[in-house]
Symmetry: C2
Subunit: 526 residues, 2 copies
């Protein structure tokens, strides 16, 4: 496509900022602490950065790492990359240096934007990847830093801003990569999910449609922007409709409550425990939460008691997002009208995503039958970067394989059972590890954490086994716990034994590594 | 792109039907008289037709004409084409046979679907185009027909339905053509607007977002489906969200009012005069219009008195759509909140379309300045079929040129002044012909119709001239009318003379050919 046609017709996430600035120049776009930009101002900032990056030689197809907490600069770099056709690689701030080095090297990053306070944490990784030629230091939370490794070009983000704030006009194709989002693997180095402009644009528009985003929304962005959920289920839809993003560095119950009241926040996205913490805040009772239209949660369902307390306390709609990085990321929305009638479900498909249940041999299954959750839709990733075999495995039978197991109810609502690899095959039956975990929590409040795995067993093939960490100071008995579970679970779902331990192996982001647990106890029945 | 990846990731308007059927199989999709289909049933019907067309040799890139009034079959053929990658060419039922023949020949149609009652009207055109090999007769409003020209393959639509209702899985790329929509030219044969799947999908999603479409909407489709406004501003967005389309063959005030009451219709799209006719219907006062959420109008603004009467009488939101076929078609939405405060405006941009004002030398102009309305956005046409020079003219300076003149107000609302070619250059000033026409109507109620053009003049370059048709039996005086206009218009906008005539030259769809009027009187001042 010629540049002229490209500029007219293309799908580019950066253009959604351009258009918001054209249509609503004076609306507030980004508020970060005491700094604030209207759409016209923020678009001008992004344009200046895009011209600066172009002046430093960054061009379509190049890759730029981004190690930053939530900040206006995070969003500015992301949108500047979009307008240039540069792929942005957000760095998960929970990764170990070897993971960061792997991602920088694997993605082919030629530069890294890093906040001043993170320079020390990133230098070990950067030192390992000689292709990272430029280190661009964003102000972040301030403070001095040592420019190491010294064999790179170091510059301040401020130096990169060009004086030219005209709209950059570079050819960027619909399916050029906007981001490589690396998923934290529990078993290996992360895989790079290639997100095209098209995929993320359509996800953003569908997000705006399905979640009812409006130009007068004011959104509190406290979840990490390096996560796809925050970035593409909230920030890019907000920009698409011209809403306001209030940037928060993290979660602090009283601080968030203050912000909601002061700025009349309309949408919030957080973990269930964050809503719990706000409800439990001593100041909650006197707060005015009337500006809230919608609170969204993800990562985990809300227990019955919590969702009821939330609906009561916040007095607005609640919804859960379900999906994964490879789907940019939302696939189903657990809608406000289902929150109380379908507790534990993950919702109905968003516009633009087809959700189906597939048998292991690639047949689509009818409602009521359990199988792997599979997806089709233009917000699907292009593939895994430099990993054609993983990509073709994920795309088997012409559907994207989520690795999740679930089923549809008769009313079209999707229920998630377990991660496919965590389903236990025992005595000819399939048992969702999560179902057993929920039962353990329900019967024994003295448990801090439980992981249920299937361990090799001569008779059962896999024997259901609960690995338990007790609350501090508590003593638990195996026989007692098994007896309690027999009153709650079908016989074949009851653990064959309970293993007590002190702690679980975790990824750098805190996720329990079930595969390591399985490996650790693999000879338990032998 | 491989088929497997294509099926997962592509943008295809047919997939929006597939997804609606998967997510909401039992929701009513299409109601046409006494016939009704759920989404599962309608999708199965479309799939059977797609397989039938494929069995008849239709494949990606082929072209199928569609001469049909509003019917379930119109929509079924359109979606079957989408799923196959066949380009659909809706025939405007107001075209003359030579225009139909031109469109069939120019588009390269290898077949034509035609309703039984239209066979006679289409046979002359088909006879002229030997490439149209197949004539497929849809039931339409019934009645016998003569299969002429006899040298074609004639078949009934019913014969085409395959027994296979499985999802067709053919490779169709994002920017493959879904439709060639020919715009009725006032000066020449129509131009074929190439609408890609991507453009129409994004337009539909933006339509759903900006107009707030919901799955529980029930839409009365009375405007012709061969027009882009009905087809892509209403029918494809309705399918995208899984709403219900009630098909009407045309407009009948009492019939529509009955339907609204009986089916609890939520959205209507019609001309201003149709709302007038409903208000004037003797039965209106006793009607229950409470199901209506939104009434949309297009083609012409509503006068102050009418919009007020509508808001009062229907008690729901009103909105106007503005755009053109080349933009798939909506570019701005004159939103409910502006209906009374901005009478005569055309609204604010929809999501995904950038609207700007351009000077004749390609500079973008600030708010308040008048110039050509230009657009960017992924719902822009791919180009004019087989007409690269018209395409590159339309895409000059990297924007799509609408041919409309207008300006933005300080609040970001767009005001349309005139078609670019109808602006009169007189004595160094630009005058919108429409402004003068409005003034003539305002000062002289005895006028049936007026057209204002600029005619060649030695002193004024173009002399503003009003060509007038009086109401039957009325006698009007030139001096009297000019005197009245002097009290209403700036001096340089007052017509230099008035020409009285009996009737105006028109296109087949009834549009006045201003260019023919100009030509007819070109020597008036010489």
């Amino acid at each position: 496509m010629e540049l002229t046609e490209n500029l007219i017709q293309r799908v580019n996430v950066g253009d959604s900022l351009t258009r918001a600035a054209a249509a609503r120049p004076d609306r507030p776009a980004v508020v970060d602490g005491t700094r604030a930009w209207t759409y016209a101002e923020f678009n001008a900032l992004v344009n200046r950065l895009a011209h600066g990056l172009a002046g430093s030689g960054y061009t379509r197809g190049d890759v730029l790492g981004l190690a930053s907490g939530n900040s206006a600069e995070f969003l500015a770099v992301y949108y500047a990359c979009a307008k240039l056709g540069v792929a942005c690689v957000p760095i998960n701030l929970g990764w170990r240096p070897d993971e960061v080095a792997y991602v920088l090297g694997h993605s082919g990053a030629r530069g890294l934007v890093v906040e001043a306070q993170l320079v020390g944490a990133m230098s070990e990784a950067v030192a390992k990847v000689s292709d990272v030629a430029d280190v661009v230091v964003a102000p972040g939370t301030g403070g001095g830093y040592t420019p190491e490794p010294a064999d790179r070009r170091w510059l301040e983000l401020a130096e990169l801003y060009s004086d030219n704030q005209a709209e950059p006009e570079f050819l960027v194709e619909d399916r050029d990569a906007l981001s490589y989002l690396y998923t934290s693997g529990t078993t290996s180095f992360p895989k790079g999910v290639v997100g095209s402009h098209l995929a993320i644009y359509l996800e953003s528009m569908s997000g705006a449609l399905d979640s009812g985003w409006r130009a007068d929304d004011r959104f509190a962005a406290m979840m990490p922007m390096f996560h796809t959920a925050q970035l593409n289920a909230f920030c890019t839809p907000a920009v698409m409709v011209g809403a306001t993003i209030h940037v928060l560095r993290g979660f602090d119950p009283a601080g968030l409550l203050d912000l909601i009241e002061r700025e009349r926040i309309t949408q919030v996205f957080g973990l269930p425990m964050m809503y719990r913490a706000m409800l439990d805040d001593p100041s909650f009772a006197g707060r005015d939460m009337s500006s809230l239209r919608r609170c969204v949660y993800a990562m985990a369902p809300m227990p019955d008691a919590l969702i009821r307390a939330c609906l009561d306390g916040f007095g607005c709609d609640f919804a859960l997002l379900f999906g994964q990085t490879e789907m940019s990321p939302v696939t189903t929305l657990f809608r406000p009208e289902h929150q109380l009638s379908h507790i534990g479900a993950v919702g109905t498909p968003i516009t633009g995503v087809q959700v189906a249940i597939m048998s292991p041999d690639g047949e689509l299954l009818p409602a009521g039958e359990q199988g792997e959750i599979v997806y089709r839709g233009p917000s699907t990733m292009s593939g895994y970067l430099h990993n054609p075999s993983a990509t073709s495995e994920a795309f088997a039978h012409g559907w994207f394989h989520s690795g999740d197991v679930g089923h549809f109810g008769p009313d079209g609502v999707l229920w998630f059972a377990d991660r496919y690899k965590d389903v236990i095959k025992t005595g000819g039956e399939n048992v969702a590890s999560i179902e057993v975990e929920k039962a353990v929590y329900a019967v024994e409040p003295r448990i801090a954490e439980v992981v249920v795995v299937g361990l090799p067993h001569d008779r059962w093939s896999e024997a259901i086994t609960a690995v338990v960490v007790a609350r501090p100071g508590e003593e638990l008995g195996e026989a007692e716990l098994i007896a309690a579970l027999k009153g709650r679970l079908d016989g074949y779902k009851v653990p064959k034994s309970i293993i007590f331990t002190e702690e679980f192996p975790r990824t750098s982001t805190g996720k329990i590594q079930k595969n390591v647990v399985r490996e650790r106890y693999r000879d338990h029945y032998r």
